[in-house]
C-alpha cells in the first residue's frame, strides 16, 4: 500500500473507465476499477477505497442499488460517493428509469462526460 488516496472507479464502459482513470491518476491518486455494481461492492470489500466514482446505468447491479447497499452498511457508509450519469436530464421511459438524484444518498453527482479539472476538484473536496 502506498500513502496515496485510493479511488474506486465503477463504470461498464472500459474506454470510459480508462479515460477517467488517466485523469484521476494525474491528480496523484491510486485508482482501482470495477465494471458493474456487483464488482464494485466486491472491490470495496476487498480493499476499502477513500472515495467511489460510481456510474448509474450499469448491468448486473446499477449505481443506485450499489450506492444504497454501501450507504446501508455501517462498514462502508462513510465512503463518499460521486454518482455519474449520462442522462442528467430527467428522462423516464419504461426501459430506463432515471431516479431523482436528490433521492440518492450519494454525496455528489456529475453528468457524463466529466471535465477533468472539475472532477479532481470534487474528489479533493470530499477527501
Amino acid at each position: 500500500m502506498t500513502d496515496k488516496k485510493q479511488i474506486l472507479l465503477v463504470d461498464d464502459d472500459p474506454d470510459f473507465v480508462e479515460a477517467v482513470k488517466v485523469i484521476v491518476e494525474s491528480g496523484g491518486y491510486d485508482v482501482q476499477v470495477a465494471y458493474d455494481g456487483q464488482e464494485g461492492l466486491e472491490a470495496v470489500a476487498e480493499n476499502k477505497p477513500d472515495l467511489i466514482v460510481l456510474d448509474v446505468m450499469m448491468p448486473v447491479m446499477n449505481g443506485h442499488e450499489a450506492c444504497a447497499k454501501l450507504k446501508g452498511d455501517d462498514a462502508t457508509k462513510e465512503i463518499p460517493i460521486i454518482l455519474l450519469t449520462a442522462v442528467a436530464d430527467r428522462v423516464t421511459t419504461s426501459t430506463y428509469t432515471h431516479r431523482d438524484m436528490l433521492e440518492s444518498e450519494a454525496e455528489d453527482y456529475m453528468p457524463k462526460p466529466v471535465e477533468p479539472q472539475e472532477l479532481l476538484e470534487r474528489i479533493k473536496s470530499w477527501l
Binding site: A19, V22, P113
Partner: protein, 493 residues
Amino acid sequence: MDTVRILIVDDEKVIREGVARALSGRGFTVDKAESGERGIEMIKQSGFDIVLLDLMMPGIDGFAVLEWIKEHEPQIQVIVVTGFATVSKAVTAMKQGAFDFVGKPFTPDYIRIVVDRAVDKITLRAEAEELREERSLSLNTIQQEQSRLKTVFGCMAEAVLITDPEGVVVLHNPAAIKLLEIQTDPVIGKPFSESISDSVALQMIEEAMSNGVVVTQEFKPGSISRRYLRAHCSPVVSSSGVLLGSVTTYEDVSTNKEIDRMKSDFVAMVAHELKSPLASIEQMIYALQVDCKYEALQSCNKLHSRMTVRTKDLLRLIDNLLNLSKLESGTVVFNLEATRGHDIIKDIVEVAAPQAEARNIEIRYLPCQEEWWFNVDYDHIRTAIMNIVSNAIKYTPDGGSVDITTSLSGGFANLVFSDSGIGISQEDLPHIFDRFYRVKGKATRHITGSGLGLSLVKEVVEAHQGYIDVRSSPDQGTTFTMSFPIVERVNAE
C-alpha cells in the same frame, strides 16, 4: 298529359253528331257508341278518359253503364247527358259518381265548358298522383335513412351515451355497454351515475351542459374501462337555445397510446445509444489532454486508437439504424436473383478467415452434397450471413472453432452456424434480436457492437421468406440456423 280520349254514348244520332262537332278541333280523340252495350265494349277495347253518357237508352241504360264504369274503370270521368224533364235522374247519376251533367238541349259552348272542367280534373288528379308518389318515395328515403343511421349507430366502434338535461341516459349504442363495461340493466331511463360511477366522467357531462361547451377528457385504463379512452362530451341545444341533453362519445385510444409509448421509448433508447459512446469518446478526449502532458506516447496512442474505434462504431450504429428503418418501412428494393448457395458461403468464409486466424479460431465449412440455389438479393444476404459468422468469431474465445454446415429439407436450405463460444444465457436468448439489446457481462465487456446487427439480420432473412433460429448453452457455444426456400437450378446464360 296525352291526348284526351272521349266517348259519346247516345242512342240518338243527332246528339252524337252534335256533341262530336262541339268537341272537334280541340285536340281530343272523339269516338261514338250508339248503345250502352256498344259503349262498354268500346271502353273495354280502347280505354277512355271521359264518357258523355245518355241516361235514357234502350237496352242497357245510362245508369247501368255508369255503374259498370265506376266498378271497372273508376278513373273515367262520366258526364251525364239528359233532358231537363229528367233532371232528377241526373242528380241521382251524380250521386252515383258522375262528374257533371248536361241538359238537353245544350249549346256547344256549354258542352265544351263541362268537358274542359273534366279535363282539368283529370289533369289535377294525375298531378296529385305524381305528388303522392313523390311523397311516398321521400317517406321511403327517410325511413331508409333512419334505419341506416340506426345501423351506423349500432355498429360504431366508439361508445355513445346520450343523456337528457337531468343527466338521465336516454340512448346508447352496444359499444357503450362493451367499452364502458356497464352492468346496469337497463341503462336507459336511469341516471348516468348509476351506470358509470366515475366522478370525472359525470363531471364532464355536467360541465358540457352547464357551460355549453365541448369537453374532452382522457381516461386511463382502470378508471371507466380496461382500455385507454378519449371522450368528447357535447351539449345538445335546440335552435331556440333550450338545452336538450348531452352526447358523449368514448373512443378506444389504447393502440395510439401504445404506439406513442413505443415511439418515445425508441427515441430515448436511440438517444441513450448515441449519447453513451459519445460520452466515452469525449471522456477520452479529456483524458488525452491530461495524459499527453504526463504520460508516455504509448498510452496516448492507445486512447487515440480507441477513440477512432468508438467513433467508427458510432457511425456504423447510425448506418444500421437507417438501414433498419428503411427495411421496416419497406422502402428497400431487393434485387432478387437466383444465387448458388455454396458460392455465397464460400465467399463469406474467405473474407472472415483473417479475422478468425488472428485469434487462432478455425472456421470449418462442410457443404451438403447437393447443389442448391436460392432467390435472394446477393448483397443483403451476404451482409446478413457475414454478420452471423462475424458474431460467431467475436463471441468465441481464442483457439475455438466455428462450424458451418448446410442441408436441404422440405424445399428449404438450412444453413447452420455453430461456434464453441461463450454462449448466451436463457434470460438473454429471447431478446437477442431486439434492437439495441446487447448481452452485458464480464465476457462481453470488451466486445463492441451497436446491438442492431441481429435485428438487421432477422429483417433481411424474413424479407426473403426465410427463418432464423438460435440455440445456445452458456460456455459451450451458440448455434444459429437460417432457412431459405430453394429454387430450381437456373442455367447461367
